[in-house]
């Protein structure tokens, strides 16, 4: 398949996932890029770059739709910014693999819980 069409498809699919589910668009970008032959580290970095504007557009849509409570979200953003700096600092100092396993387990549990 033509590479341009492939990239457009990766964009549309991950955009719809991000807008529809509020997260997970980055995973779709990484999967799509790696399948079309981009090396892993680079795919991760690129996914960060493209998912930022995509999230911004989706976030504004949710905001305009009136679904987002202002003050709760401000506190959430403040916490996320501080946590993000802490996370970047911790990267490489804490066992990422153990954290990753715990995180995957949490995903499974909360997914099942939400379905019940």
């Amino acid at each position: 398949m033509n590479k341009k069409i492939k990239m457009a498809a990766v964009g549309i699919v991950s955009g719809i996932i991000a807008g529809l589910l509020g997260s997970g668009g980055g995973i779709a970008v990484v999967e799509g890029l790696e399948r079309s032959g981009t090396e892993e580290r680079r795919a991760h970095a690129t996914s960060l770059a493209v998912i930022f504007p995509i999230s911004a557009v989706s976030a504004v849509m949710y905001g305009i739709g009136g679904h987002v409570p202002l003050f709760d979200t401000l506190w959430l953003c403040g916490g996320a910014a501080l946590g993000g700096i802490a996370g970047a600092f911790l990267l490489g100092r804490v066992g990422a693999r153990l954290l990753n396993n715990i995180f995957t387990l949490l995903m499974l549990i909360s997914g099942v819980w939400m379905l019940l």
């Binding site: 589910l21 668009g25 970008v29 930022f52 949710y62 995180f103 995903m107 939400m114």
Partner: protein
């Protein structure tokens, strides 16, 4: 104010590149009484300050590929807007089930990828020994 706490946890996980948003949404719906749509919108907003920091670090490292990034971004933004309308039409309960299914599938994908990596590493060391 209590929302700063899940925000910080999400930031730490996200800042380490493990993708925190997907766990923040169930925390908001299961423990903080938010609707599915509210939780998704809040998570998208919370993602922005954290991603901005990480992105700056990566651009400095020059790991971002410019050309495909532009077309993915363009189509991605259109997809993002379409995705929101889709979420709005589907509405709370079904959306929650769709999200939960996606969550489980993503978790399984992570396990599968992890196993693949392990196998590749195992084969590499065996080849070295021979």
């Amino acid at each position: 104010m209590i929302h700063a706490l899940p925000g910080a946890v999400f930031g730490i996980i996200g800042g380490m590149g493990l993708g925190g948003g997907i766990v923040l949404i169930p925390v908001l719906t299961l423990f903080m009484g938010k609707t599915q749509l509210a939780a998704q919108g809040m998570t998208l907003f919370a993602y922005l300050p954290m991603a901005a920091c990480a992105l700056c670090l990566h651009i400095r490292g020059k790991k971002v590929k410019a050309a495909p990034a532009a077309s993915i971004t363009l189509f991605g933004c259109a997809g993002g807007a379409a995705g929101y309308f889709l979420a709005f039409i589907i509405g709370g309960d079904i959306l929650r089930a769709v999200f939960a299914t996606f969550l489980i599938l993503t978790a399984l994908l992570r396990v599968w990828r992890h196993e693949l990596c392990k196998k590749a590493r195992h084969n590499a060391t065996r080849r070295q020994k021979q």
